[in-house]
Symmetry: C2
Amino acid sequence: MDARKSIRAKSGTNLGGASAHNRRIMIDALRINGALSRADLARATGLTPQTVSNIIEELARDGLVQSQASVRKGRGQPATPYHLVPDGAFAIGLQIDRHVTRTVIVNLVGDVLVQTESKLPSGGPAEGVLVILDIVGKACETLMAQFPHAAGKLVGLGLAMPGPFGINELYDDPWMMTAWQNFPLAERIAEGTGLEVALQNDASAAATAERLLGAAHGLDHVVCIYLGYGLGAGLILNGEIYGGAYSNAGEIGMMLALAPGDDANVEPLEHYTSMASLCNVLGIDPSDPRLFALVTDAVADGGPAVERWINNAADRLRRTVQMLESIFDPQTTILCGGAPQALIDRLIERMGPLMPSIADRAQRYPEPRLQAGLADPWSVALGAAAEPIARAFDPRFSAILKTP
Amino acid sequence: MDARKSIRAKSGTNLGGASAHNRRIMIDALRINGALSRADLARATGLTPQTVSNIIEELARDGLVQSQASVRKGRGQPATPYHLVPDGAFAIGLQIDRHVTRTVIVNLVGDVLVQTESKLPSGGPAEGVLVILDIVGKACETLMAQFPHAAGKLVGLGLAMPGPFGINELYDDPWMMTAWQNFPLAERIAEGTGLEVALQNDASAAATAERLLGAAHGLDHVVCIYLGYGLGAGLILNGEIYGGAYSNAGEIGMMLALAPGDDANVEPLEHYTSMASLCNVLGIDPSDPRLFALVTDAVADGGPAVERWINNAADRLRRTVQMLESIFDPQTTILCGGAPQALIDRLIERMGPLMPSIADRAQRYPEPRLQAGLADPWSVALGAAAEPIARAFDPRFSAILKTP
DNA sequence: TGTATTAAATCAATTGTCTTGACTTATTTC
DNA sequence: GAAATAAGTCAAGACAATTGATTTAATACA
């Protein structure tokens, strides 16, 4: 920063910016609609057929799209549809959770190609980052064995961790992973791998996964409540993940909202409504590698402790959904998580009937007010991997701006 | 919509879109920074000096910017700063509230030029719209008397009403203005005036006003809690007002959040925390034209009923702020409203100390966690008027898209 | 006082992307 | 088999930003 008073302004754009936008528009249209002919794309995007033709040709040269057999649909020359080439790009997703790290590698369309899991390295992040770099390196080798041409097509690494970030001096809470959250992990991984690394919280990553492959596919206004070790919300607003001013948006687990019978000194929501609290109630060690199976069994058995927990959690989530609907007016709310499907389903069942809210309209859109999303311990890693793909290929305001 | 299966895609762009974006970028930079030379603009926007020169010349031709006296600042040729021409554009703001309608006309920089107030026409919207059209027409005449050249520079009319919109069959609540909310008022005004009309809820309009002239100026992530007849939140996310999927985002007055001592059957937040509830407690008729003065006096006198109300409202707002901070991670939260300044200040005072949240960080940005915004019965009308200005001149994703 | 230096702003030619309008190709309809 | 319809291409043109040289006007320094 030089001495002159700093001037704040957004970036302008140029022909390159417009072109980049149009490329992304094409890829986005193909991702949402499956396969489209050049004429379809021209109609859908408002561009001229010639422009579409040029861009498609360029994308085909780059190995991002591919033609398929032409289809006759009435009069006129048959259309040649194009679809995204799955192996057109790859990205790595890395999830750091309280007890495990998970790595996945996905392709352009979100297929998982490599998948590894290990315990969170003990000894803290300073040493642990070396272990993690090793894990990432091994995953890349596995990928290269399958797809030798993948080297130049790795668009980045998405890192997902429980939030919040950057405020740890105030909250030294055993529910948080202070050491890892304070460590410049993204920078160190970027140095170690040479890849672009983006950090987001686990709920945002889960929401990205929902948007790519799950219930939020093709929707632009969705709240994803993520039930993991903690509790968070991934916010899809105007078709993009919203991170807030300091990447901590959606930390609903830290809300101090009351339920009937609570006194004023209520604890954060995630102390009642999270896998961690359920483990607490059930006496399960959350670092147990069989965690998922143990919880699944406990939910299936359904003892009184489980029932009590589900009732309490469902009651709080019911209020949370009403609150989030009032605030966001979303197309739908999704309950997802690194939790067994049975648990998600039980919670949704117990959350009904939902409370009245502005989302409770007579002629509802096709989407229900509340629905189950991906209930998969891998969805956060998957969403983390989807982030670099989205960053590289999705239409967004920042992609239009001039690149120096 | 034709018979073929509908294809969803975003719009592409072209040179015109890029150019339109750059024009907006310039105006935005001048609005935020006051006055800048072409060289300053080039540096700030990343565009070349030549491009900036061309665009500034064009803007000057359109009467939107104007040069001022050149300033010597060290070596080299003195810079010629440009600033926005206040009379470069005009817009009308129309607020429909439970008991009054307010009309303002503002110019490009947000100065209020015309200002009228009258009772909400009785007899419902079908007849009332004619009265309103007449009011708007009169306001325009007043403007033309002052600025004869304003005719072609009227960019639109912003309409602000209490929300929510479109769900009234479910909530026939005396706190809402069902008849007006169900009437296609925006369309009718558009027909009657020939202007572009945009509808938003009053809290969003208030937030727009804060962004243009108030505490949110230059900030991109702000939650504005609007205390009016009802209670709402205007959401500034990524520098734009967020309206949700169906323009009802921010209806926090309808949240069913508990405070200590509430039972499960709690009423919506705005039944405790709004000017309407205060009037209720004080026995003031909210349709009294002296409302503002009456409330101001009552707050100054500070009887036990007022104190009780303030304590209750402050307690609920304190929780609401903690909740909104956890959800949005904003740069700041603003409490504003069509309420007396003294009331806003008293509430903020009583809301302290704020509850712990992710916004409670040690090294805080310049902005405080919570601050008072515009406390002015005119701010909603002003924000409504600012909306067409923003739509016409602010950089935004949709402005880049190709215009057919 | 005179020359070098620095910065703002402009001129003229160039580049890159989309657009336009005519044209080709392939299929159905009558 | 001719007309109609639709997909897709070709080649020239339009438009906005870029580039590099140039002009203008101030300060710095000898």
